[in-house]
Subunit: 171 residues, 2 copies
């Protein structure tokens, strides 16, 4: 595989979302084994004013697909936020990964110098594509993926960093 | 700035560690304002069998500096794990960032195809440089940086994602 914007966005994000799906599979098994409704985990938060697990997974997938779409100058598919089960969240992650994988390396050639605008509540952030990937997209996707892991870990799901990294294996 | 292995490792990690230092500064202010010993935060964990904040910060800085050193075929400076205050942890992050910034882009040219071996407890993982960065170094650094943030957030430090990303600004 060649070092490219594609390798550092599509591959990094597809891997992270795939590993998150694996972590959610372990969460479902943990709830079944400990005999409680997995919806308890989906509503769990690390602080009252932090988002619950469901939203962490939804946002992780959105930022991954929307960031790559911005870099590739595409309109990303819209995913409705209607998931109420772990299975549905894993299906959402699979859809996001399918979208990421559908973007050819050619669509991201030269993306490092593209102008990227990110409207936020207060102001519009402006980046070149490289900075956007370095300082916005990658930290942002991992922010939500790791927080999802931390919510589950805090709630007693038996996980370790090896589940998060999966030894660098294919998701 | 040019898209390069250097941009995707040194810059990404220096930015992440710099933002973690900012988050720790806010943690110190929060402890002062709420009138408790900041050492309480340093010992805080999200689960009894997870590492406390101090170790998350130490490991984040170690993985960042050691990963770039592996890619650059250098011996990284060793940092002793002796920090007992937020100030000392921030000094450690500053040292790790200084080391990262000392590595010239030329040292990472062609690093994407280098053979990287990572001895773990059970087995030695083998990667090409690109995969090592994508699937090991980047997820691993963010694993510890975000978990540090999550520990603080869980303990009532007033933080938001904007503190974690800092709008893509320079650390």
């Amino acid at each position: 595989m060649k070092f490219s914007m594609h390798a550092m966005s599509v591959d990094v994000f597809a891997n992270a979302l795939g590993n998150l799906s694996w972590v959610l599979e372990k969460a479902a098994a943990s709830a079944a084994q400990r005999k409680f409704d997995p919806a308890v985990l989906l509503a769990a938060r690390l602080a009252p004013d932090m988002l619950p697990l469901t939203r962490q997974v939804q946002i992780a997938s959105d930022i991954a697909k929307n960031s790559v779409a911005r870099l590739a100058v595409q309109d990303p598919p819209r995913l409705e936020n209607t998931e109420t089960t772990i299975e549905q969240l894993r299906a959402r992650l699979a859809r996001a990964i399918d979208y990421l994988r559908s973007i050819p390396a050619s669509a991201l050639e030269g993306a490092e110098t593209r102008d990227i605008k990110v409207p936020t509540g207060e102001r519009t952030l402006e980046f070149k594509g490289l900075e956007f990937l370095q300082r916005w997209a990658i930290p942002n996707v991992f922010f939500h993926v790791v927080t999802a892991y931390d919510i589950l870990r805090h709630n007693g799901v038996e996980l370790g960093k090896a589940d998060f990294l999966r030894g660098g294996r294919d998701p």
